[in-house]
Symmetry: C2
Subunit: 463 residues, 2 copies
């Protein structure tokens, strides 16, 4: 059915003023006096609501006046300007039809509900202002990322979810199986007989698409993956989910410098896109969720990101060791407190920390000439700490193989990966951006459960 959206009305008001239009949406509130009443309507297309005025000249005046919050209605009427009122315009209704009533026990009432409570009614929470804003920004952010890469000619690769290999052993994995757990087939030695599982071998859910992406970068030069990844970590924090989305670009003929430039450009693009396309939602976050949000994002969008080596960063931090729970020294991994101190107190803007000790980074990162560090980079932003991690990859067959042996990785599991260094190897690099962390950063929301439509965490898999 042809309905004019609230978004169209707000964005192109002159086109609709004094016209008869039809809108559809859900009741946020109803107020009536004896001869007329007001409905506040939300139609899901726009953050703001629309006021409807109706009169007792309507046959169903009483029915409308009794509507509960959440009811769905269709309104035919004339859009009129209301220069004296808080809202810019309203609809003078000629007809209102009830599409679906809302039962008296509707869990969302006009009062403010806690985020904790809303997590218990996950199928309804997206009807609230907060989650309207969060999930619209999430959608725009996802699209901005695609747009950024596609406009630059990157090829979007769907890396696989089910995998037979454990990329870099990044964490605990979920096993995927079709075997009957009540009756697991075994071989004559009593071991599980995976030849009888669906794929004929043990399989898990992916923790990263990077290695697959590298095979495509060596064919298409610039590629990215953007899909779900999984961690079976038993950590019940505000920042960990078992299922989350990740963006991983990978570029051939690109060194660490190119990699940082790409990451910086991408972050700025996404921030700009969301600020431009969701101004109402971003103002809402700035007013009600995170007071300094807009200033911080505008600052990031307009700063040139700083660059500092890990070694330099450690020197800077060591001078402030009295301020930290964990004292730093060369060789240690940076904790969030250190990352935030660097970006918030010392540099006062986003920074890249580069060239970490090889011991605390993954096997595939390119060895620097000092023999101690690798060409890694983490991007740290004020308010959150690390948001992106990446590296130039080791492109030398011999060095990569030696490093794998050093770490006890089985060569047969990485044949394909070594092949990339055997046939037309290029200097290449890439990074990973946790999508939910990015959405938290853009919205100021503090719990990852509140930026995922249907979050999966330990002991929680609703719907």
């Amino acid at each position: 059915m042809k309905l004019t959206t609230v978004k169209e009305i707000y964005r192109e008001r002159d086109k609709y003023l004094d016209q008869e239009i039809t809108v559809g949406g859900w009741v946020r509130s109803v107020r009536d006096s004896k001869t007329f009443g007001f409905v506040v309507l939300h139609d899901g297309t726009y953050f703001e609501t629309l006021q409807i005025v109706y009169h007792d000249t309507m046959d169903n005046f009483a029915e409308i006046s009794k509507l509960n919050v959440g009811a769905a209605i269709i309104v035919k009427g004339t859009l009129v300007a209301t220069p004296q009122a808080k809202q810019p315009f309203e609809i003078q209704a000629a007809e209102i039809s009830v599409e679906g009533t809302s039962a008296p026990d509707y869990p969302l009432q006009k009062k403010r509900h806690s985020l904790e409570y809303l997590r218990t009614i996950i199928h309804l929470r997206s009807r609230t202002n907060t989650f309207q804003a969060v999930f619209r920004v999430r959608s725009l952010c996802a699209y901005a990322i695609h747009k950024f890469f596609q406009e630059r000619g990157f090829v979007y690769v769907h890396t696989p979810l089910i995998t037979g290999s454990d990329c870099e052993g990044a964490g605990e994995m979920f096993q995927v199986t079709t075997m009957d757990l009540n009756n697991i087939p075994t071989d004559d030695k009593g071991n599980i007989d995976y030849s009888q599982d669906f794929f004929g071998k043990e399989t898990n859910l992916t923790v990263s698409g990077q290695l697959n992406c590298e095979t495509f970068a060596q064919a298409f030069r610039n590629v990215y993956t953007f899909g779900p990844t999984f961690r079976a970590e038993n950590s019940n924090t505000t920042r960990h989910a078992a299922e989350f989305w990740m963006i991983e670009p990978e570029c051939a003929f690109a060194d660490l410098e190119d990699n940082m430039n790409l990451a910086e450009a991408m972050l700025k693009y996404v921030i700009g896109y969301v600020l431009e396309n969701a101004p109402e939602e971003m103002n809402f976050f700035n007013s009600f969720v995170d007071k300094g949000l807009l200033d911080r994002l505008n600052h990031v969008a307009n700063s040139e990101f700083g660059r500092v080596t890990y070694t330099e960063a450690i020197e800077l931090l060591e001078k402030n060791n009295d301020k930290f729970d964990y004292k730093v020294s060369w060789g240690c991994d940076l904790q969030t407190e250190h990352e935030r101190y660097l970006t918030e107190q010392i540099f006062k803007k986003p920074i890249f920390v580069t060239d970490y000790p090889k011991e605390i980074k993954a096997f595939y990162m390119k060895a620097n000439e000092d023999g101690k560090t690798v060409a890694a980079m983490d991007c740290l932003v004020p308010g959150i700490g690390e948001i992106i991690g990446g590296s130039q990859r080791e492109d030398d067959y011999g060095k990569l193989k030696a490093r794998m042996e050093e770490l006890g990785l089985k060569e047969e599991d990485y044949d394909f990966y070594l092949d990339l260094r055997k046939y037309g190897s290029t200097r290449h690099s890439g990074f990973g951006l946790g999508f939910e962390r990015c959405v938290m950063y853009l919205t100021g929301m503090g719990n990852i459960r509140d930026v995922i439509p249907f979050p999966r965490t330990v002991n929680n898999c609703d719907l």
Copy 2:
């Protein structure tokens, strides 16, 4: 590093002609005579190659002449027009540096390899013409889908991959677990103790995001999901994969007619986008993979799709029952042979078949007034048969509940779904498009294994 791409050279040749530029890419072939030679270079950004001419004035003339197919090089030189030659221009090289050699056993030689063979070197096959074309079109197709929905204000919802429920029992599922399969915990009755599994209950990989999407449509009005889905079906065909991507829009205040209009507009948009943005690749498919492809796609893009009820379709097909392996009669499901006959022979264009018998469709589809059929629609296209399946959803609480009881579905598994009919229910509808089927349709590729970067099928989970 700043490299000019082959795409930029082809698309903006005047900007680069007679300029000194630097390009990087992989060697497709080398031919040399005593004093000069030719390299055909492919850089992954564009379907066509670039010819490089080099001379023995270069110090490393011999090294270049000995390069194997697949080697990576960086070339500095001047782009010059070649009006007498097959290719429009070439690079007169001043310097060529070898980025990475290619070992003599490189599996991709200049000759044509079979698709079956290429499936055995899945990490390298994307370097061939065919897979360059397939995966670039796949990427563009994915982006076109996002663009279509985002431009229309749809909210992209990431529906969950791991799920505790089995939507519509659509097929066999993969189980997801962190339990030790060698030592599965049991309760005192000897049953598996899922309270000790990661989520505290039995979980599987999703077969559809539809029910989740419906919860968002009742909040945002127009939404879509685009993500991976899974089927653990033991079917080894050219059209089935265990892991594939699906697009599922869902719209509130939308009936079956709106649903068909949306599906038709989306297909036409995607076809148009791919034809416009990958003309070289589409010509390649038309010449080497599927001779009638471009005609067929242009025809679809410019046809008004036909519409016919299931009952009418059966009448039409019954007259031709002698042509079918499976004879049709009212009540039977349509097979691919019937679908193709309808769209190719009878209507000669894409059609929607609507209002199927309720017995062969899912429980959530809206009952028609005849008591026998439901407001379902399948979109059939020439050359492939069904490409989209959708329906208006049952929005009446009582009817939906009764139908669920009839089919023995447990109410407690669908509480959230019934709630949507209790609090502001709207007429609403949606559909599902199998993304890989769409890519097969756009490229003419005949095997789903050849349109998925890393396909997962029975006994096959490489990389």
